[in-house]
Symmetry: C2
Subunit: 238 residues, 2 copies
């Protein structure tokens, strides 16, 4: 971690097909069509809705939305804040897997390519640059959200965004907590799932929860707004 701000996409709806539905006929058919093993594919409601329903997956309404994670990540990686090394980004999935990302990363806008990348990450546990072998993505199991905040990010404050939070604006929140000092690092936690709220696994480690809209906002919109305000503070005002 190298930056004064870390974005965590939490409860990220990104996983491979769970064991319990790996043999469902729609899953097997989809795997055959794209030439992959069923267990290596990403769970995706666009393709696996019927398997998710008939397999009675727990918390199914929160799962199978890699497209939401893709949008949120692409939003973050496209900001000058990230491109100027003022932002670290990581994912904490609904299955409590941690995905760390390097600086200077571009992720593909094409969903087809993003999907391929994530399948490779879940299979191999890491992705390295073909050019210089630099570690680009790393997947870690069994890291608690609290450990991530305290020991990996070493954040001073953890600020969650949720429609259940205290009403405020991105501008006010950022001006209150974000600053260029590496001593007072700030973790910004935004949910990477379609509906509902943070899991207890995440929620119990947050210092404060804010809401920045009258309407519920999609993850990528919150990412765009909060990072833009961080950028105004950390880049424009220097």
């Amino acid at each position: 971690m190298v930056a004064p701000v870390t974005l965590i996409i939490a409860d990220a709806s990104l996983e491979t097909i769970p064991k319990s539905i790996v043999g469902h006929k729609s899953v097997v058919r989809h795997a055959q069509r794209i030439g992959k093993k069923p267990s290596e594919m990403l769970l995706d409601r666009s393709y696996h809705h019927s398997a998710m329903v008939s397999g009675r997956l727990a918390d199914a309404w929160k799962r199978g939305r890699p497209d939401i994670v893709h949008f949120a990540l692409a939003e973050a990686f496209s900001t000058p804040l990230y491109l100027r090394n003022k932002l670290d980004v990581c994912l904490y999935t609904i299955n409590n897997k941690l995905i760390l990302t390097s600086s200077d990363l571009r992720i593909p806008k094409s969903y087809f390519r993003f999907e391929g990348l994530m399948m490779k990450l879940f299979k191999d546990g890491s992705i390295r640059s073909e050019l210089d072998n630099k570690l680009l993505f790393e997947l870690l199991n069994d890291v608690s959200f609290g450990y991530l905040l305290k020991n990996i990010i070493q954040s001073h404050k953890s600020i969650g965004f949720s429609s259940l939070g205290v009403a405020s604006t991105a501008q006010e929140i950022v001006s209150k907590y974000v600053n260029p000092s590496m001593e007072n690092r700030c973790a910004i936690i935004i949910g990477g799932f379609p509906k509902g709220h943070f899991s207890e696994n995440v929620l119990k480690y947050l210092d404060i929860l804010y809401s920045i809209g009258e309407l519920p906002l999609e993850a990528h919109v919150v990412v765009a707004r909060v990072l833009y305000e961080c950028e105004k503070l950390l880049l424009f005002e220097q």
Copy 2:
């Protein structure tokens, strides 16, 4: 058009496979795999790069990026500005086709579903709601960009965003030109292509061109920032 602000994604990199490469073996193979006619598929560099290169498509570097258009549209349709009917959205493609969209529209985050929707639009010329037959998308040929601005949108000012423009900030530009009056409607024009600049077909109708970043920004980032500033002005301050 019902709103004080219209967003136009211009020179949008969205089209079906051009006739000149419709018989290319990689295109035919891809069409077979997804069970579509080659001529009905969207041109997509992720799949058709070799056909685009060997077919020597004109302006190939600007074409075949429906993913960029998808991100920019999803960004706009997710904003409270749009959800509160303060924003109209349309696309003007690199082949000078105009796509009008209705209010109250949600487009799928899943690229697979978005692709299906756009293929249907190019094939049928329009998409209506299955629920109440309301016109959701309409594709028009042979409408000049000037006619769009003057006669369809009836905008008072047309403001383009480009790295070639005058340096400013989204906040300054919006506070200068955007206001709630329907008499002084403003068109915001953002490029929906991966590299390069607006075509002459678009450029000649713009009143002014602004740049809002030291680094070149991707379309969806510009959309997010400009609409967020519009929202602060048109929603928060009322």
